[in-house]
């Protein structure tokens, strides 16, 4: 037992204390959080826009008059569909590599490229989550709004969206957690995120246990923290239920 404790101590020392290796992990964590944060912002903006276009097109399908505006709207809807198909139909690592080596080949900021790539990818999933939320609200709610004299946008704003937010929150949180963990492939394009920082330590110390477990624990702690925050938010929103 004593031998095991001594071994643990020396392993800990080599992997985290020597040459201030824990600082590399900390920096990696910083990059992971930066990428996740900006990807989340980009994802939500794109997701909301696409969800708006897609659900509005679908909801107004039945009573739309054929016109140029309607046709343009149809084109926008088609573009959104193509975006969803491509971004959801290819692995995020491949998209990341395409962004790094092809589309944004001259950018010198790997964190920026990763944020954009993950953001665009996440946007596709967020869009479908939000669209699902909007479409799941009973049509009666919509008709009630219209019969009270609200126009389409007002109905959306006052009746549909508030209910949607509450419905989609758990799925959005799911997507956020998945995104946080997906950023672990950013190492493919020379971004030193948390996973890569752990890998570099492992490559230098040749002891796989400590760096990998440490990295896993940090991800787990982050996910648990965000789930806890989401729990609080959900409880708050539920207070308005009558």
């Amino acid at each position: 037992m004593q031998a095991w404790i001594d071994n643990f101590k020396s392993e800990f020392d080599t992997n985290f204390i020597q040459e201030n290796r824990w600082q590399d992990l900390l920096k990696g964590l910083g990059n992971t959080l930066t990428i996740t944060f900006f990807a989340l912002l980009i994802g939500i903006v794109i997701g909301v826009i696409i969800a708006m276009v897609r659900s509005t097109y679908d909801k107004t399908q039945s009573n739309a008059r054929p016109s140029l505006r309607r046709k343009l709207f149809g084109v926008a809807n088609g573009l959104c569909k193509v975006y969803l198909t491509v971004l959801r139909g290819t692995p995020v690592v491949v998209q990341l590599l395409i962004f790094f080596f092809v589309i944004m080949a001259s950018s010198r900021n790997g964190v920026l490229v990763a944020s954009i790539a993950f953001g665009l990818n996440s946007g596709a999933y967020v869009a479908e989550i939000i669209r699902g939320g909007i479409m799941s609200i009973d049509n009666g709610q919509f008709e009630a709004g219209r019969s009270l004299g609200f126009n389409y946008l007002q109905t959306m704003q006052h009746i549909i969206i508030p209910q949607t937010v509450k419905n989609v929150l758990p799925s959005l949180m799911n997507e956020f957690i998945a995104l946080l963990k997906e950023t672990s492939v950013a190492g493919y394009v020379a971004v030193t995120d948390l996973t890569k920082a752990g890998n570099i330590i492992r490559g230098r110390t040749f002891s796989p246990f400590m760096p990998l477990i440490a990295v896993a624990l940090v991800y787990l702690a982050m996910v648990m923290f965000f789930s806890w925050l989401e729990g609080i938010l959900e409880r708050r929103l539920r207070n308005s239920d009558h």
Binding site: F101, A105, S106, R108, Y188, T192, I200, R204, F206, P208
Partner: protein, 250 residues
């Protein structure tokens, strides 16, 4: 029905026995097979200087070789843990690595080259040194070039050291202007420059190194391997391999 089952089970045992016999004569050769001319894939086959030497030496010792492809950083840990029998692929013999695996006698000496774009202002090592805090330096992760850049060249600003999974990725990033220089072993650098005049290179101030094959510590094969490798170095057959693969590149 029972008979069929019995035959099937017997057949399984026989097959298992056969494959176990073959297994005895096969050693796994771990490397990152993207480091031409030392280790690479051509026409779907693993080949290169290191593979040829391994085939030559182990062939004489009566073993077959089976190549296993992985990230460079996974080779030494894998060999150490006994997942693979031998690690190769321009692996520099260092004291740090020696604490975890045993190395064969060296079969090649090498230096770290700095690769830049042909029209780069960073035209010699002094210029790179002078600009070291403000340039992005690409390396292959976990190689000695990586350690040299992280600990020495970019020690003033460690974020400038950009570790890529393969040397080829780093060279691609260099060519797209994303990074300013790449530090890589010279055999590989020459390979990249051979068919590309948009690049040039010069020797870094990293001390020269030697390559060896690595084995798990205490592996009894090592002694015989060293003896045979020494004989092959002496009789010129290793030199012939080098000539074959390096002329291939030019």
């Amino acid at each position: 029905m029972k008979k069929i089952l019995a035959i099937a089970i017997a057949a399984m045992f026989i097959l298992a026995g056969i494959s176990a016999v073959a297994e005895n004569g096969t050693l796994t050769l771990a490397s990152n097979y993207e480091f031409a001319p030392y280790v690479y894939k051509a026409d779907g086959e693993y080949t290169g200087i290191d593979v040829a030497i391994a085939k030559l030496v182990f062939g004489e010792m009566g073993y077959d070789i089976q190549c296993e492809d992985m990230d460079f950083g996974a080779i030494i840990i894998g060999v150490q843990q006994g997942k693979y029998d031998v690690g190769c692929g321009a692996i520099t013999i260092t004291d740090e690595r020696k604490q975890n695996v045993d190395f064969s006698i060296p079969y090649e000496s090498a230096v770290q080259q700095v690769v830049v774009l042909a029209d780069s202002e960073l035209a010699d090592m002094a210029a790179v040194r002078a600009a070291a805090d403000g340039i992005l330096v690409g390396v292959q992760q976990d190689t000695t070039g990586h350690y040299y850049v992280a600990d020495n060249l970019c020690a003033g600003n460690p974020d400038n050291c950009q570790p890529f999974a393969t040397a080829a990725d780093a060279i691609q990033a260099l060519k797209s202007g994303r990074i300013d220089v790449v530090v890589v072993d010279d055999g590989v650098a020459k390979e990249f420059l051979a068919d590309d005049d948009s690049l040039m290179m010069f020797v870094s101030d990293c001390p020269p190194e030697e390559y060896g094959f690595c084995f798990a510590q205490g592996n009894p094969l090592l002694e015989e391997f060293n003896a045979v490798l020494q004989a092959k170095l002496d009789d010129g057959s290793v030199a012939a391999i080098f000539a074959e693969f390096k002329s291939d590149a030019e």
